[in-house]
Symmetry: C2
Subunit: 252 residues, 2 copies
């Protein structure tokens, strides 16, 4: 599986992706799932992918071919809005799955994407592209998106993700969500790819965070210690504080 997330901040966008792939526990690999595409001076895209690895790779190859090929066809260089970019990615994704349909009976070949970035003077934004080809935006109330193994780390993002934090703080909570997921689910793991985009810069700073990265080790140690301390400091209560259920005899 996979865990990728993206956060929308007032200052810009933060992307974090794991790199683990597996086709059964005896076929585990490391693949980049976060890709920066900058097809022009005033446009930049970050594409995070989850789902069938063959599909996501072919989608990326087709996106690059569309950029490299002359002609009036749609591409990430031609779209004028992020939602058009999302629809374009969704269409390519559906085409790939459809064309392999005959050979993929009983296999889920679909892929899901998070597409983020900025086009010219449009607002930076993040969109989730479904296998069906349509998309949703993140809300202002919960300004984050997740794909893949999203459940384990959702609570932390709900607590921490707001528009107002700066990219450094957002990165810490993104890594907290990622660590919670990787600890609970073996199919998600380091190294992690971090992308930080500051609005108007049209340039994504990319970092690779390895399992033995001092930053990651320090964050993980502190995070787990803090969590345990939080448990210890939760208010104690006695049984008298609770509503006891009175029973007479057996209960069903």
């Amino acid at each position: 599986m996979t865990y990728c997330l993206a956060m929308r901040l007032k200052e810009g966008l933060v992307f974090l992706s794991d790199t683990r792939t597996n086709a059964g526990v005896d076929n585990v690999g490391t693949y980049r799932k976060q890709h920066v595409i900058a097809p022009g001076p005033s446009r930049v895209f970050v594409l995070e992918s989850a789902g069938n690895l063959a599909t996501t790779q072919e989608v990326l190859d087709r996106i690059q071919r569309d950029l490299a090929t002359e002609g009036g066809h749609e591409s990430l260089a031609s779209v004028n809005y992020l939602f058009e970019a999302a629809l374009y990615v969704g269409r390519v994704s559906r085409q790939v799955v459809t064309e392999h349909g005959d050979g993929l009976v009983g296999v889920d070949a679909t892929a899901t994407f998070i597409l983020g970035g900025q086009i010219q003077d449009g607002e930076p934004d993040i969109l989730l592209v479904y296998p069906e080809g349509n998309y949703i935006r993140a809300s202002d109330e919960l300004p984050f998106l997740q794909i893949g193994e999203a459940k384990y780390g959702k609570f932390l993002l709900e607590m921490a993700a707001t528009l107002d934090v700066n990219p450094a703080t957002a990165t810490k909570s993104a890594l907290g969500s990622m660590m919670s997921t990787a600890r609970a689910n073996l199919s998600v793991g380091p190294p992690y790819d971090l992308g930080v985009y500051v609005r108007g810069s049209f340039k994504v700073d990319e970092f690779r965070i390895d399992a033995d990265s001092p930053v990651l080790v320090a964050l993980q140690r502190t995070w787990e210690r803090q969590l345990r301390a939080s448990f210890a400091e939760l208010p104690s209560f006695s049984r008298e504080d609770l509503d006891r259920v009175s029973r007479s005899g057996e209960d069903s």
Copy 2:
């Protein structure tokens, strides 16, 4: 959906269940999913259920009928080991699903259970009963079991659940796991049913914790504040601490 968990401690067992059921978002109900059955002086069982509500209710009714009916048949009064009780529950569960099979085409009628308790001088234990009728125990390393929407609250249990904590502390982390789940997933919600069993007592203390319970409100407030504080206290790092990915031109 549902979220039920159980923890095995040196001192005894802790059970926590939500009560929300839903058949679509326009058909939401509250049903007890934690049931204490004490069919004799030196045996007590706690059964937590997830899955098809009709199936779980018929399983409970059949368990009670087996207890109420004379005869040499197996029941929770006759089994000598907890694993026999688990196999018995699994067999009843499969029977119910099988007998309704004709009427349930395309519907998942299966149910999953956590069975805990103690029989005579056997060790108190918790077992997860699969829809297939077999079972697993919790390990000593991670002495907890979960059924239903298990992913959201797994990380917290992995951090907090050990054999050595007392039931009061275990209850706090169980509620923390439950609150994380309920916040992230609407299909899990209060009131919550708490069961605490002290080894050798053959009596389960049962509590119902409502959404407006002062204990729950205080725990939730403190827990969220502590978590946010934990984020704030995570070590800061500058971009220079990370391995920047150098890029030349476009990337795929």
